[in-house]
Each structure stands twice: as structure tokens, then as C-alpha cells.
């Protein structure tokens, strides 16, 4: 094995790129869960975002439009989940699973003509002076705009939940829907909006996979990234800052195992490929063993304003 072939600057740079899709999906799902809704359909919304973003970017030649379309697609798909769980009061676990199955089918149907095509990708920002700083420049300051957008989104979500009135209402709905209802807040409306935000974020995350990270469309390309995003929310104990830490940790593991495979490590390839999933399990185990949960009290419970 030749570890010297791994360039630390490139390693950190690629960790940021591989963490971004999971980060986008996870921060969206965190808001949904903060409102008391468990949407297990992240994987389905992500892959739909990936294919729609890719198709629009290829057809218009503008990756930016692809991202907008992906966010819309994720939000529209999540709206079906919102309708079923919020108005028809269906079981959230089953409906989320259904959303994933629908998303996987829908995406491979839409994506068939786009297999094997290259898409226009986002340009790397080339900020004068900043990007030219040795080491830190190429490591942290010369990525595409979505990397910084995702980090800004984490900060925005954190500030929204902590400092704004709307954020407080959203948390109240997630902790006790009945009390929030009694105070006159529109529980269902708040939850629907949170679900759509989560869908849009998952769509963006998917589009980042197909437009920047890979960048290509292949069937089933999210390969569990949506589920890992769900696990990261648990890992983060529903806190925005820790979601970012979790996503970067997983980005790191993914990149490191790819680098180890390339460097010819004396570890079976299957074990390395399975490592992101094994580590997800490990992290879930550690978190649950610690017992520090912090889950919203009304998470996963249906709300119906029956008198």
C-alpha cells in the first residue's frame, strides 16, 4: 500500500464535495423532524432530484437551472407525502417507504434516455486572492457555490430555529402538536411547509450528486445516501451544527475508503465499500447507547384536530 499517493489537500477538498449532498438532505430532514414529522422518503426525493436536475441541466446547458428544478421536483414529490400524512393521516413510516419506492421507480423511468451522457457541471469559484492562498486556498476556498450554499443553509436553519418566532412555532409543533393547536397555530400548515422544505433540500442534494459529485446519471445512484442522511439527523441529536459535523464525518469516510481502494490497501474491497454503512450502524449504536436523544416529542405522531 502506498499512502503517500494520497494528497492531503485533495483529500480535504474531496471530503467537502462528497459531504455536500448528504448535508443538504440531512439539514432538510432535520427541519421536517423538528416539526414532528418523520419522512423516510429522503432517498426517493433525493434520487428524483438527481434525475430531474440532470435532465434540466443537460437540456438547458445551465446547471443552475438544474438545481432549481431539482429543488422543485423534491418539493412536489414531498407534497404527496404531506397530503397523505397530514390530510389523510396515513402512517408516516409506511408512507415514507412508499415515497422512496415511488421515487426510485420514477427516477429510473425519467432517467432512461440520459444514461451515459455528460452534463454541464458547476464551475469552481475562483475568488481572487482567497483562492490563491497556499494550502487553504485549494483546500477550502475554491469549490463550487453549492458547497458554500449548503454550509450557509446550515447556519440559516440554526438561526431560524433558535432566534425567530416562526422557528419557535415550528419547534412547538414538533414537541406538542396539541398544545400548539390549542394556542391557535396551524399545525398542519406548519408541517406541510416543513415537509416541502425537506423535499427541496433532498432534491438539491440529489442534484449535487448527479451534476457535481459524479457527474453523470446512473440508475439507483444515490445508493443509500438518503438513508445515511436520516441516520445523520439522529447522530446529530436534531441540532443543525452537529448535522454538518456528521455529514463531513461521513464524507470523510467515503473519500478515505475510496482513496484506500485506489492506494491498494490490504483490506478486502467489499469491506471498504461497505464501510460507510457499517460506520452508520456503529454511530447509531453509540448514540443510542449514550442515551442522549433529544428527539422532538411528537416525532412520527399523526395530528388530527378532532374535538
Amino acid at each position: 500500500m502506498d499512502l503517500s499517493s494520497i494528497n492531503p489537500i485533495l483529500l480535504v477538498a474531496s471530503i467537502m464535495v462528497s459531504a455536500t449532498p448528504i448535508l443538504l438532505a440531512a439539514i432538510g430532514e432535520m427541519v421536517v423532524e423538528k416539526a414532528g414529522v418523520l419522512n423516510l422518503g429522503v432517498e426517493g426525493m433525493m434520487i428524483t432530484g438527481a434525475v430531474v436536475g440532470f435532465a434540466i441541466a443537460v437540456n438547458t446547458g445551465t446547471p443552475g437551472l438544474g438545481f432549481v428544478a431539482a429543488a422543485c421536483a423534491g418539493a412536489v414529490l414531498s407534497l404527496t407525502f404531506a397530503f397523505l400524512t397530514q390530510y389523510l393521516l396515513s402512517n408516516q413510516v409506511a408512507t415514507g417507504l412508499g415515497l422512496t419506492l415511488v421515487g426510485l421507480g420514477l427516477s429510473s423511468l425519467i432517467g432512461k434516455p440520459y444514461e451515459g451522457i455528460k452534463s454541464p457541471t458547476l464551475p469552481k469559484l475562483d475568488i481572487p486572492i482567497l483562492s490563491d492562498i497556499p494550502v487553504i486556498g485549494p483546500m477550502l476556498l475554491s469549490h463550487d457555490i453549492m458547497v458554500y450554499f449548503s454550509l450557509a443553509l446550515v447556519a440559516a436553519v440554526w438561526a431560524f430555529l433558535k432566534y425567530t418566532r416562526a422557528g419557535l412555532i415550528l419547534r412547538a409543533v414538533g414537541e406538542s402538536a396539541d398544545s400548539a393547536h390549542a394556542l391557535g397555530y396551524k399545525v398542519v400548515n406548519v408541517r406541510v411547509m416543513a415537509i416541502m422544505f425537506g423535499g427541496a433540500c433532498a432534491g438539491l442534494g440529489g442534484a449535487y450528486l448527479s451534476l457535481v459529485r459524479v457527474p453523470q446519471w446512473t440508475e439507483g445512484m444515490t445508493a443509500g445516501a438518503g438513508w445515511i442522511a436520516l441516520a445523520i439527523v439522529v447522530f446529530a441529536s436534531w441540532r443543525a451544527g452537529r448535522v454538518a459535523v456528521g455529514a463531513y464525518l461521513f464524507g470523510g469516510i467515503t473519500v478515505l475508503q475510496l482513496n484506500l481502494q485506489a492506494a491498494g490497501a490490504q483490506v478486502p474491497v467489499a469491506l471498504l465499500s461497505a464501510s460507510p454503512y457499517l460506520i452508520t450502524i456503529l454511530v447509531l449504536v453509540i448514540i443510542s447507547a449514550k442515551g442522549a436523544h433529544g428527539a422532538p416529542a411528537a416525532l412520527g405522531r399523526a395530528f388530527h384536530a378532532s374535538n
Partner: protein
């Protein structure tokens, strides 16, 4: 204005009627979807639901396929339904199915080329054990540490796929296979071959096992104390606790049973219809079985019917690819929609829909 009024108890009629409502809605919306893709919707629906059984040209080939595909779906869904009834979400049946197949095949191949009659039963036992162990991982983590079983069981599917890849190109690879991935072909080894019990019907031992599982699950849920405890833990967890039901035991039993049945389905598949352990032998039955369990109302008889219907859509889906050049993914979407419409229609089971004037609604 439309308002929902909670029923004092779930409606019996609608419990049985909603699957049909869902199927009808799926046909309508799916038909519209096929129409948008430039395929005659009526022809597409007929190809999916009618031709596999009644077409004079190829029904003799497709009819046996119905049992071949329904067998594993029913077997897995029966196991899953027990857990779902108790509020335990094992969604990693696909992984348990794969590990069952790998373990069972490994146990058999260790004795190759013996022609003992014990080879096939041994493989079945190890298949069950493999699936059981794979399901015990999330079950034990749940009971000992409170780890979320949904995420763990799903993550283990991806781990299982990596083990399958290693097995197919490594420790189970056919030594006479000129280096190609994939195990020995069990169809060419009589002692391990899961042949049709009645030749040409598709009725192999796995299908028989599925029918037995349906009857056993029916007896368990209606006649046995354990079945009552499973139902009680799902419907009223607190009451179950007071009645002395041990929640940990419920999790271990339900997850263990569903894992063992999924593993059994896996070994029946590789020794029969699939023939070899290879990458991609798993056709997503573990996930489709979730739809089967819900469509069958978590009721054994319902699952039997739902499994047959789902098998029909698989075969019909293959036919639409051949005859109407429709992409394979269309049928996947069709199956997903079915679950969605079913969950939507379920509102009728628990709620009454009232039409009130908006003025009255506001007052």
C-alpha cells in the same frame, strides 16, 4: 367543506374494500401515465393483468411464473406482517434474503458433490439461520441499546450486497467456471436442486413453504396467545406492558421470524429459479414484500392474494417490456403507486368523511 370524523372503531367493510379502491386508482393513474408515454393505456393494463394468465400464445409459459414469483413475496411478507402488526419495522428483508441464500448455498457447497438426501434440508436450515442472524443484529441492538431498527436493518441491506459480491467472486465462485463470478449451478446438482414438485407448474418447495407459512401465520394470529400479544403490542403498547407482554421478547420473536422466513425465501430462490448465487440474483423481493404485506392488510390470507397480484404485475411488467417496449422501471413505479394509493385510501377505514357547509364548519 370536507371534514374527517374519527370512527369509534376501524370500519370492517373499508378494511377489505380499500385494496380494491387502491388497485382501481392505480390502474387509472398508471394508465394515464402509460398514455403519456405513448402506449395505449388499455392495451398496457390488459398486458399486465390479463395476458400473463389468459393469453393463448404465451400463457403456458407465464402461468407457472406466477407461483415462482409469488412464493418468495408471500414468504417474506408473512414474516414482515408479524413485525408490522407489533409496530416493529424490519425493512431490511432484502438483506436477510441475500444472507440466507449465501449461507444456505455455502452449507450445501461444502459437501459438493455429495448426493445425500440431507443436502437440500441442510441448505434450508442454514438459509433460515443466515436470515435469522442478519435480522438478529438490528433486533438485539434495538432491545439492548434502543437503536433505531429501521435504519440499521436498511443499512445491513447494503452490507449484505457487498457480502454477496464477495461470495460470488470469491469464496463461493464456481471452481470450474473459468474465473467468471457466480457459484456452481444448483440446477445441475440433483441433491441441491429445488425442482418443481409438479413439473411445469412453477410449484417448487418454496411455494409450498409459502402456503404453509400462510396457514401457520393465520393460526398464530387467530388462535395462539403469542398472536394476541403481537397484536396487542402494536395497538396498545401500554396495555400490553400491563398485561405482562415483554416488549423485548416481541421484538426478538418478530424480527427473528421475519429474518428466518426471508432467508428461507432466499435459499429457495438460488437453489431453484435463480440457480446460482451471483450479483443481482436478488430482484428486490425484500422491498416489494413490504407492499405485499400492506396490500394484504397484514392478514395472512390477504397477503396470499396480494402476493399473487404483485407477482402478476412483475410478469405483466416483463411482458410490457417485450411487447410494448416499455421500460422496466414503469412497473416499479406502478407498484410504488399501488402502496401510495392504498395508504391514501386507508383514511376511509379510520375516518368518516362528512360534507358540511363552510359556514357551519366555521361555527
Amino acid at each position: 367543506m370536507i371534514t374527517l370524523e374519527k370512527r369509534p372503531e376501524p370500519s370492517k367493510h373499508w378494511t377489505y374494500l380499500t385494496p380494491f379502491v387502491a388497485i382501481a386508482l392505480t390502474m387509472i393513474v398508471g394508465g394515464a401515465m402509460f398514455g403519456m408515454m405513448g402506449v395505449d393505456p388499455f392495451e398496457a393494463i390488459r398486458t399486465i393483468f390479463w395476458d400473463p394468465i389468459f393469453n393463448t400464445q404465451f400463457a403456458s409459459y407465464t402461468r407457472p411464473q406466477l407461483l415462482v414469483k409469488a412464493g418468495p413475496l408471500i414468504l417474506i411478507a408473512i414474516g414482515l406482517s408479524l413485525g408490522f402488526k407489533a409496530g416493529i419495522w424490519n425493512i431490511g428483508a432484502e438483506g436477510q434474503y441475500i444472507i440466507g441464500a449465501v449461507c444456505g448455498a455455502a452449507a450445501g457447497l461444502a459437501f459438493y458433490p455429495s448426493d445425500s438426501i440431507f443436502i437440500f434440508p441442510l441448505m434450508l436450515i442454514f438459509g433460515m439461520l443466515g436470515g435469522w442472524i442478519w435480522a438478529m443484529i438490528p433486533a438485539l441492538l434495538k432491545t439492548k441499546l434502543g437503536t433505531n431498527e429501521i435504519l440499521v436493518s436498511l443499512m445491513l441491506v447494503y452490507v449484505a450486497e457487498n457480502i454477496l459480491a464477495t461470495a460470488a467472486s470469491g469464496f463461493l465462485r464456481n471452481p470450474d467456471g473459468r474465473g467468471f463470478p457466480g457459484s456452481r449451478n444448483f440446477k445441475e446438482w440433483d441433491a441441491a436442486f429445488n425442482a418443481d414438485i409438479i413439473s411445469g407448474t412453477g410449484m417448487h418447495w418454496g411455494v409450498l413453504a409459502a402456503f404453509i407459512a400462510v396457514i401457520a401465520a393465520y393460526a398464530l394470529m387467530t388462535k395462539h396467545l403469542l398472536g394476541f400479544q403481537i397484536r396487542l403490542s402494536g395497538e396498545a403498547p401500554r396495555a400490553a406492558r400491563f398485561a405482562g407482554v415483554n416488549p423485548s421478547a416481541m421484538i426478538l420473536i418478530c424480527m427473528g421470524l421475519s429474518g428466518a422466513l426471508a432467508g428461507l425465501a432466499g435459499i429457495f430462490e438460488v437453489t431453484g429459479p435463480a440457480g446460482v448465487v451471483n450479483i443481482g440474483f436478488n430482484a428486490g423481493y425484500g422491498f416489494t414484500a413490504i407492499i405485499v404485506a400492506f396490500l394484504g392488510r397484514l392478514n395472512p390470507i390477504g397477503i396470499l392474494l396480494a402476493g399473487l397480484l404483485m407477482a402478476l404485475t412483475y410478469i405483466g411488467g416483463e411482458l410490457t417490456q417485450l411487447m410494448l417496449a416499455m421500460p422496466a422501471a414503469a412497473i416499479q413505479l406502478f407498484q410504488g403507486m399501488l402502496l401510495f394509493f392504498l395508504l391514501a385510501a386507508d383514511v376511509l377505514v379510520n375516518f368518516r368523511i362528512r360534507f358540511t357547509s363552510s359556514a357551519k364548519g366555521a361555527a
